[in-house]
Symmetry: C2
């Protein structure tokens, strides 16, 4: 990265616009350096991809997430039409880039769970050890996820050659030189940025208040598997898929807000270790939730054997148990946050206003 | 019950034989009063039995468990051949009486779990809500458990008319008047009974030391579902049923020892609330373990649909989760016992040597 962290003295006289421009210049530069690498990586990868995304793609995702987060949290300091358009385009790229690595991780999670349950790992057998359905269910999941990944790969390849991506790259080039700021960005950094960051924390706190934290922090309540919010389907009948999705949705929303608060803390130069950890816990929640859907969907494949279906039932329940375990971990860690959460922002910045260069994690 | 609790003064001069005879007289009297009621109840119950065993059967089970426990823990104070024969006959009756209520409870557990998972209960839907396999799996489990219960009922009915039961009743009649004591029972109660009770606690402590308590007391480790002890089957292949049984067995053995220690505490007049609680936790462990086997067995029924098998896979995993939850509860509560556990016996008796009449729980 090219910019040096700002000193306390510089920060004390800096305007909000100075701080945001400095961050965006660094992030847009990272975007432009990572983009050709990521395009090359996707093009060079016809078959198997590893669980860890390639470096170019990972760098690009990191920059895109942070630029998008800053434009959202500090939106009052930017020219509104430009900021809104940029966020739409960044969200599009984010979804596009996350698709294929997501399938790779889901495959690793589900096949790993199946291997653990069927005991082909060194840790000892599981409740599906030696079961005739285990290899069949493994092959079915592997086939369906490979197909989904291949489709995602093709659509990513196509979009990475699109005019839309070129336009977004042009937008980022502009950003390196000159972020389109609103007049209010001329104010002092502390006065302008801290209230906006505090609003991000307020939104997070409201979102967490609506979670069933007390139930979640009692282990083995079975809440990932039963006692879901009732959601009658279009036909009026109970629909487990809809009920599970509705039960998980507030947690997914909370994860988005945790990420935003993390990035806001980075801009304000405050340590974000607790939020980093909560983000990881909620990522695990989301990935287990999505893997559970994949297992349930695979169990509806026509003409599978009862043994295969039985194994998929066990895997489905196991992933819902993972969902519950992640909620438990969140429910235990959330109270470690300072009361009111905005309290963090009232601390003086640790080393001046943070620099984008400090942020090495996803 | 007919006997009054012994006073401190009486206890201080009582021999071990006095204390044991007093307990056995009361318990054998309870046995003889409950037996005709229990026989009548079993005979009058051709069809559906409730989850709670009928009063006569419950009283009979309670007396049989305690007499058997006393003859085991304080075996050095009885005429050995008589005590060994009595224990064999009591164990036979215990297994016989426990069979049918066991199936009734297992049915209530499995169908209750299925109803919770499929959301026909008021608490909100579960992950099997609206699933086509749920009613089919419910009917299958209900049919198989009803059949097992009916078979158990017939064999109980037959045995309750057997000469073997009449001989055991005669044995209990003798016990009301005169327990066949060993010469060592002439010693003072404290000197003779406390070391034998302490040995029961020592056996319990050794058994618990061999449990994976540290793993169990970390929630959501997944130990009920995977990382089981490896048990190669006769054919050399991994066998999940055998691995699960081997993983659960040390917990089942511990439960037997918890019960023995409970009954020994009752004789010694010490409070047993913590052990009562641990006994309940391990009963839950055992019932979930057995229910899981029933679900897995049902899933191997020929010609079931994939949807039915899938639901049984979820139910199987759910019951293994219950096994894990019970181990967690045990791992959290065990350290509440006084260090060394025998320490309990070094306390002075709360109200003199306990009386069988005080023990109202199973």
């Amino acid at each position: 990265m090219t910019d040096a962290p700002m000193t306390d003295r510089a920060a004390s006289t800096a305007t909000a616009g100075d701080i945001l421009s400095s961050h965006l210049t660094a992030l847009a530069g990272a975007f432009l350096r990572a983009l050709p690498l990521a395009v090359g990586e996707v093009g060079a990868r016809p078959g198997a991809a590893s669980v860890v995304p390639s470096e170019g793609t990972a760098d690009l995702l990191r920059a895109v997430r942070r630029i998008n987060g800053l434009l959202t949290t500090f939106s009052a300091s930017f020219e509104p039409v430009w900021a809104q358009e940029s966020r739409t385009e960044l969200a599009w790229l984010l979804n596009l880039l996350a698709l294929e690595p997501g399938y790779v991780r889901r495959s690793a999670r589900l096949l790993g769970a199946l291997d653990g349950l069927s005991g082909s790992e060194a840790e000892g057998p599981g409740m599906l050890a030696g079961h005739a359905g285990a290899p069949k269910a493994r092959a079915l999941l592997d086939r369906q996820l490979t197909l989904a990944r291949t489709r995602a790969h093709s659509s990513v390849l196509q979009e990475l050659r699109s005019a839309r991506l070129h336009a977004l790259a042009d937008r980022m080039t502009l950003l390196v030189a000159d972020a389109p700021l609103a007049p209010s960005a001329d104010g002092r950094a502390g006065a302008v940025l801290v209230p906006q960051a505090a609003a991000a924390f307020g939104a997070l706190a409201v979102s967490v208040q609506q979670l069933p934290l007390q139930r979640a922090s009692t282990p083995y309540g079975g809440d990932g598997l039963r006692r879901l919010g009732a959601v009658p389907s279009a036909r009026g009948a109970l629909d487990a898929d809809a009920a599970l999705a509705a039960d998980d949705a507030p947690w997914h929303r909370t994860r988005v807000l945790v990420r935003r608060a993390r990035y806001a803390l980075e801009v304000c130069g405050r340590p974000s270790a607790v939020l980093d950890e909560l983000d990881r816990v909620l990522l695990r929640h989301q990935e287990a939730s999505e893997a559970a859907v994949t297992a349930a969907t695979a169990a509806r494949t026509p003409r599978i054997t009862p043994a295969t279906a039985y194994v998929l039932g066990v895997v489905h329940a196991d992933q819902r148990l993972e969902v519950e375990a992640a909620r438990y971990a969140f429910g235990r860690r959330w109270p470690e946050l300072p009361p009111g959460t905005e309290a963090w922002l009232e601390l003086p910045p640790a080393e001046g206003w943070g620099s984008a260069a400090e942020s090495r994690t996803a």
